[in-house]
């Protein structure tokens, strides 16, 4: 064993120069492959119309035109969609947690009749693609007069089988003895839940809140299929509008790119500051 440990640094030193150069080249290529689209998007949103259509494409505009952002803002009704995005996504985080955490608690820590079939109902949405249910939901909501309401858009994202599944797993890992100790000390169920159990599952819950927000913020399909007017549409639809304009007589790529930049900006900024937490969140939901 000790022999192996001694050999290890020597082996590292022996790594040939050619191998290192190849490694560097691959790294730079990968870096470029993932940075260039973002760079080009941001740079293009400052171009003039002529520059945006230039052949060959331009990588650095002569003058930085900020008014593209204002144009995108006005043309695609950004204030309305942006407001909707913020309101609905934040509301979804709250309702999703209020709906999921108690449910996950019951399935993770309690015994009751019909637990198995009820659990199957909870997990059902993981098996059913949205393409199967969007029309029935559309018909149901239009019969109820719920189309184009904030409530309906929030309700759809309130329940998510995978969210409940992951929080339940976290609850199941909570040590029973700790809870018993708290109960022996005379703590009520509510106190036990909020003072003892909840802090233990908090990381998972935060993760799931983040995922709920992302799911709603990035959603496009429900935006398209469950709304008939602008009242509750969110930001991805603004990009659709800008994009559709480019199919017509006046292609304005620079404005579209400005819109795309504005849609991505909150997520990218959040990701720059919290990339460790966000990545961990996805690892958790993928592996467990």
């Amino acid at each position: 064993m000790a022999d192996v440990m001694k050999k290890q640094p020597k082996m590292k030193k022996k790594e040939p120069l050619a191998g290192k150069i190849i490694e560097c080249v691959i790294l730079i290529l990968l870096f470029a492959l993932f940075v260039l689209p973002f760079y080009y998007m941001i740079i293009s949103s400052f171009k003039s119309t002529i520059e945006a259509l230039a052949n060959p494409p331009i990588w650095w505009p002569e003058k930085f035109l900020w008014h593209n952002f204002i144009d995108a803002w006005n043309e695609a009704n950004f204030p309305k969609y942006g407001w909707n995005s913020i309101v609905i996504s934040s509301a979804v985080v709250v309702t999703c947690l209020v709906c999921s955490v108690p449910c996950a608690f019951a399935f993770g820590r309690m015994e009751f009749k019909f637990k198995k079939p009820l659990w199957c109902i909870i997990l059902s949405d993981m098996m059913v693609p949205v393409q199967c249910v969007f029309l029935p939901i559309f018909i149901l909501f239009s019969d109820l007069g719920w189309l184009n309401t904030y409530g309906s858009m929030i309700l759809l994202f309130t329940y998510s089988g995978s969210t409940i599944f992951f929080i339940r797993n976290a609850f199941m890992q909570v040590n029973n003895e700790v809870l018993e100790a708290a109960r022996l000390d005379g703590a009520s169920e509510l106190t036990v839940m909020y003072r003892v159990t909840f802090p233990m599952v908090k990381p998972v819950v935060v993760t799931m809140a983040l995922m709920a927000f992302l799911r709603r913020w990035n959603d496009y399909f429900w935006n398209l299929s469950l709304t008939t007017n602008d009242r509750v549409r969110t930001l991805p639809f603004a990009i659709k509008i800008l994009n559709a304009a480019t199919d017509g007589t006046l292609p304005r790529w620079e404005v579209t790119m400005a819109g795309a930049t504005m849609l991505m900006a909150p997520m990218l900024i959040a990701y720059i500051f919290a990339n460790k937490q966000i990545k961990n969140a996805f690892v958790y939901s993928g592996i467990k």
Binding site: L27, F31, V133, F134, P136, I164, N169, N218, N275, K288
Partner: protein
């Protein structure tokens, strides 16, 4: 600070209980009743999945004209119709080709890049972090950016290709290249997530396994194929199934970039269901097609469940 005695804590809890009113007692009682706790989620699930799925299957046997409001039972007619429909068969074929390309080519790259980046060096980590970012961004925005960059005449992609003296392509505007362009974007967007999962799978393999392999003088490639790959297989399988289900339900980038075109080169199942249902109002046909989609995706999920149950240890 001295720790409070048990009796003190008990007295404090009792005091705390008394201070709260009736609302507290009701809440406390409700918390002991599991049916109250699960009610909201179960009710929404019943309506948005169970009822909706039932209605979906029911609609697939009906001929419903929403404009005139006529509804009649037509049995398997819708299924017969879609399986004779050229467009449906094309979109089924496109979806399968798209799935095979994105899943398998994607998986190879995820493993290669994952193994390559698993070194915990600053620049490696930076690349990995940047690589993941597309995954949390709306695919709508990504599709738009690529639509701009993949233009045949004034696009960046062709500029780079011709600068390297490589043949240029029509990308999403060419009949032959459109589907592969969409596959490229899908792989690009999902690569970072796959790499992240592969790396966390690699880190979960204990060091002593490699130590033993080194003591046995196992070669690098042998260690990779005999030790790393088998131990990584549950992770890879998870990626395989989730990405194939994702590929079957691809909608956003089709709707943003090509609208199924040019011709029918990128018409896919999810898009077919949407067009039949919302645009052409053929509810029955749309739902019949979606049932086909359901059969495919749930078969994949069921395989995942059976295999994962054997190999992965869920807690």
């Amino acid at each position: 600070m001295s720790t409070p005695k048990n009796t003190e804590i008990r007295a404090f809890r009792k005091l705390e209980l008394r201070q709260h009113g009736t609302a507290y007692k009701i809440l406390n009682g409700a918390l002991k009743n599991p049916y109250v706790l699960i009610a909201p989620a179960v009710i929404i699930a019943l309506f948005t999945t169970i009822y909706a799925l039932g209605y979906c299957i029911y609609l697939s046997f009906m001929k419903w004209d929403p404009i005139f409001g006529t509804k009649e039972f037509v049995g398997l007619y819708n299924y017969q119709y879609i399986f004779k429909d050229e467009l449906f068969l094309t979109s089924l074929k496109n979806t399968v080709v798209f799935m095979l390309v994105t899943v398998f080519v994607g998986l190879v790259f995820k493993v290669l890049v994952g193994v390559f980046l698993n070194k915990n060096k600053p620049f490696h980590n930076l690349v990995q972090t940047i690589m993941f970012s597309p995954y949390i961004i709306a695919s709508v925005a990504i599709a738009t950016v690529f639509k701009y960059m993949m233009q045949p005449s004034a696009g960046v992609f062709n500029q780079i290709l011709s600068a390297l003296h490589l043949p240029t392509s029509l990308w999403y505007m060419g009949e032959d290249s459109a589907l592969m362009s969409l596959a490229f974007i899908t792989i690009w967007q999902g690569l970072g997530y796959g790499v992240l999962i592969v790396i966390s799978g690699l880190r979960a393999i204990p060091d002593y396994v490699y130590e033993a392999a080194r003591l046995d003088k196992s070669s690098k490639s042998k260690t990779f194929f005999r030790i790393t790959m088998p131990l990584l297989s549950p992770t890879l399988f998870y990626l395989l199934v989730t990405s194939s289900v994702g590929a079957f339900t691809t909608f956003d980038i089709v709707s943003m970039m090509t609208n199924g075109g040019p011709g029918t080169a990128t018409y896919m199942l999810a898009y077919y269901v949407y067009m039949q249902g919302i645009r052409f109002m053929h509810y029955g046909r749309a739902m019949a097609a979606s049932v086909v989609l359901l059969v495919i995706t749930s078969t994949l999920s069921a395989i995942n469940f059976v295999v994962a149950g054997k190999k992965v240890h869920y807690q």
